[in-house]
């Protein structure tokens, strides 16, 4: 075992892994994290704790991860390259490991101008750091863990033992280069990969074929990203505005139909779309898990953690594996 994390154990067991997502609040109150952790516990093998997602200040990933851990939910701390240079990153990694965190996902992070897609003020005037990029960060974690060395070469008395993750946007442009970029992440040391949300399963299949031809799937555990759709509007937005995501028209039509069939009652229309959204998520999970080389799913029920139990049960992914000595 590289880290001994629950996620690593599930992946090593050969059973499909399930990760979820927990977004920390814009608040100093721990209750929201604790509440979400309680909802997710038992319904995933580990939950990503986002790092100031959408470039908005929230409880830090490490602090929220520790709050989740105390509730018995294994966290995957996320670390973006946007806010820290390599000194701060490595200091935080040592601290995170000392606090008991075992998984870390390395990502570039949304640019500081993103400000929740303009919905919040954010801090568009912040300095952007990007001392290292996500692939270099993966390499730094690996060097710390496996060689007991800092990036600069100084020795670490006790190395931080992280299960190292990275992201993959199969539908991102230029699409023919994406599998090669994924290979770089894996060569740098990524033990697991979570993909951007997949609605276009055919596209993902063809990208996975290229991934397999490069032998990447044997060196890392690829978890297909599933973003649980809540409404036809959300699917349309994802299709038109989220980079690297395309939503096939039949899926949008299905959601539209659920909405229209519910009539003019807004509450009913909402419920009908949510029900359809859960069905779509379950189907996507099953289709994605059938693709050779896929070792699990990363299910994001954004601000809708309560949907996880239903989805997992319907997808045949409940109960989650447990390990007696853990």
């Amino acid at each position: 075992m590289k880290s001994g994390s629950n996620l690593e154990r599930v992946i090593a067991s050969g059973k499909p892994a399930v990760t979820a997502e927990l977004g920390p609040p814009m608040s100093a109150d721990p209750q929201e994290v604790i509440h979400k952790a309680k909802l997710l516990k038992g319904y995933c093998d580990a939950a990503n704790i986002t790092d100031c997602q959408t470039a908005v200040v929230r409880i830090s990933s490490i602090a929220a991860a520790v709050l989740a851990l105390r509730e018995g939910l294994e966290p995957v701390m996320q670390m973006t390259c946007r806010d820290r240079n390599r000194i701060a990153m490595q200091a935080d990694l040592l601290g995170a490991a000392a606090l008991g965190l075992r998984n870390c996902l390395c990502i570039a992070g949304d640019h500081q101008s993103f400000s929740a897609a303009g919905k919040l003020k954010g801090h568009p005037g912040a300095k952007n750091v990007y001392d290292v990029d996500s692939i270099q960060l993966v390499g730094i974690l690996k060097k710390m863990r496996d060689e007991g060395l800092q990036e600069g070469g100084d020795k670490l008395e006790v190395a931080p033992k992280f299960f190292i993750g990275a992201a993959f946007t199969p539908g991102g442009e230029p699409m023919d280069y994406r599998p090669y970029r994924l290979k770089k992440k894996v060569d740098a040391g990524a033990d697991f990969i979570q993909t951007q949300g997949i609605y276009d399963v055919e596209m993902f299949k063809s990208q996975m074929e290229k991934v397999r031809n490069l032998g990447i799937h044997e060196k890392t555990a690829i978890l297909g990203g599933i973003i649980v759709p809540k409404s036809a509007m959300m699917l349309r937005y994802m299709d038109s505005s989220v980079a690297g995501v395309s939503v096939p028209k039949p899926l949008i039509d299905r959601m539209m139909k659920a909405k229209n069939d519910a009539g003019t009652d807004k509450k009913k229309a909402k419920e009908a779309q949510e029900e359809e959204g859960i069905k779509i998520a379950v189907e996507l999970i099953q289709q994605v898990l059938e693709i050779p080389g896929v070792k699990g799913v990363h299910v994001q029920a954004i601000e809708w953690e309560s949907a996880m139990p239903v989805i997992l049960k319907a997808a045949g992914l409940y109960p989650r594996p447990t390990f007696p000595d853990a």
Binding site: A108, D110, S134, I140, E173, R181, K184, A243
Partner: protein, 232 residues
């Protein structure tokens, strides 16, 4: 070239309004090309200040001048005596020019008339784009001649992030994704396999991160010394 942009006139007025004898001092190289601070622009700014001063009833003498370059002493030395008769120089040179003149002019303040933006080129009339960030360790041979440091909003070194959208950067539909351009260019050159290799963390000390930089050419210094000896 160095690209600059005129400051809002309100800001300029607030800088100059308490002075009695002002020289608006243009630079006729880079910032003239980008219509920000050449002799012509200095003349226009000077007349705007004069008009505003008259409107506000502020007695002020405003003149303008322009020289070829503000970043080498030989260009501004000949005019120095006259320049020193003003009580403010509003320089429309780039920040380099403002700094350089400021260090040499004695007790007279030199204020900036423009905002210095970046090193750029002129893809079409009236458009200027940033193409190099002066990092001190050029890697353009690895990236198809397109700079990931200056042209990727995150200065990524190992390929495009997940935010690239229809060839544009996640920060704006107006900004090309530098990495999209790099990959496409390298495909065209048949060298895309160079992008399969991992670029390790950079040593940024050659860039501004390492502190103010100097380039010293010993052989040129020696030559100058020899010349000086010969003359004496």
């Amino acid at each position: 070239m160095i690209v600059g942009k005129q400051k809002p006139f309100e800001e300029i007025w607030n800088m100059v309004k308490d002075f009695k004898k002002v020289l608006v001092y243009g630079c006729n190289t880079c910032v003239a090309i980008c219509h920000a601070g050449g002799g012509k622009e200095a003349e226009i700014i000077a007349s705007m200040i004069r008009i505003k001063a008259a409107e506000e009833g502020v007695p002020m003498e405003v003149k303008h001048a322009g020289i070829e370059r503000h970043c080498e002493p030989e260009y501004f030395e000949p005019l120095m005596e006259e320049v020193k008769t003003y009580d403010l120089v509003l320089s429309t040179a780039c920040g380099v020019g403002v700094n350089f003149l400021s260090e040499r002019i004695g007790n007279i303040p030199v204020y900036p008339g423009i905002n210095t933006e970046f090193f750029g080129a002129v893809p079409q009339a009236g458009v200027f784009t940033e193409l190099c960030a002066g990092c001190g360790n050029c890697i353009l041979h690895l990236t198809g001649g397109i700079c990931p440091i200056a042209r990727c909003s995150k200065s990524l070194m190992n390929g495009p992030c997940g935010g690239t959208n229809k060839g544009k950067c996640e920060i704006s539909q107006e900004v090309d994704c530098g990495w999209y351009l790099i990959v496409e260019r390298m495909k065209q050159l048949g060298t895309v396999d160079k992008l399969y290799a991992i670029q390790q963390p950079r040593n940024w000390s050659t860039a501004r991160d390492g502190g103010p930089r100097r380039v010293v050419l010993a052989h040129i210094q020696d030559l100058e010394e020899e010349e000086a000896k010969k003359e004496s």
